[in-house]
Subunit: 96 residues, 2 copies
């Protein structure tokens, strides 16, 4: 057994990003408010981690209007899903 | 579901520390060289993360002499085991 860390993804080390990816794996899409409540983080903190994941093309969003109010729904991208599954499998493998 | 991150432990976010704790969960004890090879990190990097985990009382070590050479064996402490199990269970719960 060598280099057991190589399949862990730096992008998902941070627990807020781990939480975002998990929440968007379990739920097809979530809006900003739902994510913030799930993760119990500030607006600024959540926004910065979402931006990081968008830049990596792991998360995407769609802006809509609900009752004339803007609503931003986030979802995981196919490449985000692939990278996250690989990361979780790497954690599971660590413990075997 | 609220605050899904609260049981994740900041000490185990970093992947080297996650790797150390996993390796010492799977193996009762490992020396510095074995850990370094498993994790594929530099001496300085490994030493600094081990020190962090010692300070938290999650990891302890015993120094011995093997063939007159010093040999440092690391193992997980009971409180390290408890904290790590809680962290891993929190990751598993994220995905449910």
């Amino acid at each position: 057994m060598k280099n057991i860390l190589k399949d862990l993804n730096k992008a998902f080390e941070n627990k807020v990003r781990l939480g975002i990816m998990s929440a968007l794996t379990v739920n097809d899409q979530l809006d900003f408010t739902a994510l913030r409540e799930l993760l119990d983080v500030t607006d600024g903190n959540l926004a910065s981690h979402l931006k990081y994941l968008e830049r990596e093309n792991f998360v995407e969003y769609r802006k809509e209007f609900l009752d004339r109010k803007p609503n931003t729904r986030y979802s995981i991208t196919p490449s985000g899903k692939e990278a996250f599954v690989k990361h979780i499998e790497a954690i599971e493998k660590l413990l075997k």
